[in-house]
């Protein structure tokens, strides 16, 4: 095929509207959230002491951190969807560790050493490790779908950030159910769950976000 012939076919295909990653995410993420919330409503329930919990700094941290992760990762993801963007911006994510470390330090001071193990393991850590990723799957699909409309320089990095965003959303939802509020628990099991989704996002991105 000659290049001019190829150009003919590209020109013929040009009429359609092209949505970038941002528009696609705007359309698909709300749907994904509804699916996740429906899943939550079907298998889990809200914690009974929600009102009281909202007054404890531990619970607020447990909401704040996933929310920050999700917002930062979504912003980064849309940035990385452009071909000019370098994956080096990923290092800004390290700042997310600051509120977590502060929370861990506060907990270490406030909780006697003998009880560390108890608060860190909580009652149902494996449940958490399962449901954070499960609730993250619909947003992960939406995020990866949006990125497939983009042109990330590094598909792996883009997938990782998509996984992180989805993991943050899943963790935020799960936090409405779970009543282990210790930052120790948060660091172990929530972060563990988010890591699983992040890893998954990276693997899928590496494979399917090439262009």
């Amino acid at each position: 095929m000659k290049t001019d012939q190829l150009i003919d076919s590209l020109v013929a295909d040009q009429g359609r509207r092209v949505n970038g990653s941002g528009m696609t995410l705007l359309a698909s993420l709300p749907i994904a959230l509804l699916v996740s919330i429906a899943l939550f409503a079907y298998v889990l329930d809200m914690r009974d002491d929600l009102a009281a919990a909202l007054e404890s700094w531990r619970y607020l941290l447990k909401l704040l951190l996933p929310a920050l992760v999700a917002v930062a990762a979504i912003a980064l993801m849309l940035h990385l969807a452009r071909p000019q963007a370098a994956a080096a911006v990923l290092r800004w994510l390290a700042w997310l560790a600051v509120p977590l470390v502060l929370g861990l330090l506060a907990e270490a001071v406030l909780v006697p050493r003998e009880s560390w193990g108890v608060v860190a393991i909580g009652q149902n850590p494996l449940f958490c490790l399962f449901f954070v990723p499960a609730l993250s799957l619909p947003p992960l699909a939406a995020a990866l779908w949006s990125l497939s409309r983009g042109a990330p320089q590094s598909p792996t990095a883009a997938g990782i950030v998509a996984g992180l965003a989805a993991g943050g959303i899943g963790a935020l939802l799960y936090a409405a159910h779970c009543d282990n509020d210790s930052p120790f628990y948060l660091a172990l099991w929530y972060l563990g769950g988010i890591s699983i989704v992040t890893l998954l996002g990276g693997l899928i991105g590496h494979r399917y976000l090439r262009w």
């Binding site: 095929m1 000019q84 409309r149 042109a151 090439r210």
Partner: protein, 173 residues
């Protein structure tokens, strides 16, 4: 590119034609410099044009066009060289010279796309072939293949996307 995104076919055709010339010069020089076969240049030009087309939505029209073009072209170049077996770093500065040296002549035939075209589902292959090789319009293709115009458009778009995918997976000769 702005008018092209707004649906101006003539502008889009001219833009892609100009870009093909620019890319050809740059890609040939890059291949030669790194000791690859310059005969592959046209295949890479075509693959890059498809990428520019399919990913045109990632260009923010408020921003300059050239850095975006450079990023897309570099990505396809790196991708191609990697497939050809070596990891290569392309200095971005090289790309600037391109503007001074477009190469309008398509001296060597490109056949990779033809090979990939043969792997497409039959319907898509026919549509892409009719519009590119036979130079038909959407309407003519629809009549010729007895399809609805909308179906032709969909098949064309899927076909082009599939071509890009096939090129990515291809074993290079």
């Amino acid at each position: 590119m702005r008018s092209a995104l707004d649906g101006d076919e003539t502008a889009y055709r001219r833009l892609l034609g100009d870009l093909a010339g620019l890319l050809r010069g740059w890609i040939r020089r890059e291949l030669a410099r790194q000791g690859y076969n310059v005969a592959d240049a046209e295949d890479i030009v075509q693959e890059t044009l498809i990428a520019i087309h399919l990913k045109r939505g990632t260009w923010d029209r408020e921003r300059p066009f050239l850095p975006w073009l450079r990023a897309i072209s570099r990505h396809k170049m790196v991708d191609n060289l990697r497939r050809r077996g070596r990891r290569i770093v392309i200095p971005i500065e090289e790309f600037a010279e391109v503007l001074a040296a477009p190469e309008p002549e398509e001296s060597l035939p490109a056949d990779a796309l033809d090979r990939h075209l043969a792997q497409l589902p039959k319907g898509q292959e026919k549509v892409v072939r009719a519009i590119s090789v036979d130079g038909m319009s959407i309407a003519e293709t629809a009549q010729h293949l007895m399809m609805k115009e909308g179906a032709v458009r969909v098949a064309l778009h899927r076909g082009l996307t599939a071509l890009a995918r096939a090129a990515r997976r291809a074993e290079t000769t």
